[in-house]
């Protein structure tokens, strides 16, 4: 059973780990990237998820090569951290556009094929920060919280067509995104995590693989924390 999988932002970090897991299962995997192409062996499509025309073109390219997307992992995301008083409206809008509106763009396009097929799996990459909050990340947290309401609405809209929509909420993960934070900030972050360490990207990918797989057929509208216990209760 080789499925058609699309992972946005699959050139690095969590997205790449997800793509590798699906590829290892024998799925036909496409990854989109913005500036850095994925390593060899993965079908990479350049696509800026903030541009609806590029999203549509990427889907066309994938459909021609593999057929309609059956599993969508909307994972591309950015941060522009700063305290509210220093945050410009442009900083806020850019993060919401790349993290939340982009999810709208790719999910909307993917459901065209899923509705026709009467099945599909949609997985949105949120963050523990979406429900916990984080000083200096008001834009990022707002975008990640927005994904929850978005996913749950779609779980209701699309459930009768056997399309599931779930959210994964990672805690701190060892990727370029966190490497940018610096040693001190990372120490402080992990000191708050009950498991007292960061996650590997592959640990997040494992949960994504589960949500896309046959054992998760009755899971929809869920927010799955993969955060070492950081967000407990949220």
């Amino acid at each position: 059973m080789s499925r058609v999988v699309l992972v946005t932002g699959g050139s690095r970090g969590i997205g790449l780990a997800c793509a590798r897991r699906f590829a290892a299962l024998g799925d036909r995997v496409a990854v989109t990237y913005n500036s850095s192409p994925p390593p060899d062996g993965l079908f990479g499509v350049r696509c800026d998820v903030t541009d609806a025309a590029q999203v549509d073109a990427a889907f066309k390219e994938i459909e021609e090569k593999f057929g309609p997307v059956e599993i969508l992992v909307s994972n591309a995301g950015i941060t522009k951290d700063t305290l509210l008083l220093r945050m410009t409206e442009a900083d806020f809008a850019a993060v919401v556009d790349a993290n939340l509106t982009a999810a709208f763009r790719v999910v909307k396009r993917a459901t065209q094929g899923m509705l026709r097929a009467r099945k599909g799996r949609i997985i949105l990459m949120s963050s523990v920060v979406g429900l916990l909050g984080s000083a200096g990340q008001a834009n990022y947290a707002a975008s990640k919280a927005g994904l929850v309401g978005f996913a749950r609405s779609l779980a209701r809209e699309l459930g009768s067509r056997s399309i599931t929509v779930n959210v994964v909420a990672p805690g701190p993960v060892e990727t370029d995104m966190t490497a940018a934070l610096g040693e001190d900030r990372l120490k402080e972050l992990t000191s708050q995590v009950p498991l007292a360490r960061m996650a590997t990207a592959d640990e997040i990918a494992g949960v994504v693989e589960f949500l896309a797989g046959p054992d998760a057929g009755y899971v929809t509208g869920a927010v799955i924390p993969v955060d070492g216990g950081l967000g407990m209760g949220h």
Binding site: L115, E157, L158, S160, R161
Partner: protein
């Protein structure tokens, strides 16, 4: 009513609503007779917009449409 247009409309509906052509009479009610929900209806309208090359139909105009014939009459006004 042009039979050719109606036939094209039927073709869209067979695809989008997963029904048999002989169920698609003018009197057929979407909900009761064709067992279609609001999402089916949206899918049908999108298929029709593509088939006939018409602009997306405003949701307001779709209010009150309950039968297959009524939907066809609305589409005709958009051509």
């Amino acid at each position: 009513m042009s039979q050719e247009l109606f036939d094209r409309f039927i073709k869209c509906a067979v695809d989008a609503l997963k029904v048999e052509p002989d169920q698609l009479t003018r009197e057929a009610r979407f909900k009761e007779d064709l067992d279609s929900d609001s999402l089916d209806f949206v899918e049908l309208m999108m298929a029709v917009e593509d088939e006939f090359g018409i602009d997306p139909i405003d949701e307001k105009e779709l209010e009150g449409i309950t039968t297959f014939g009524q939907a066809f009459d609305l589409i005709i006004t958009k051509l």
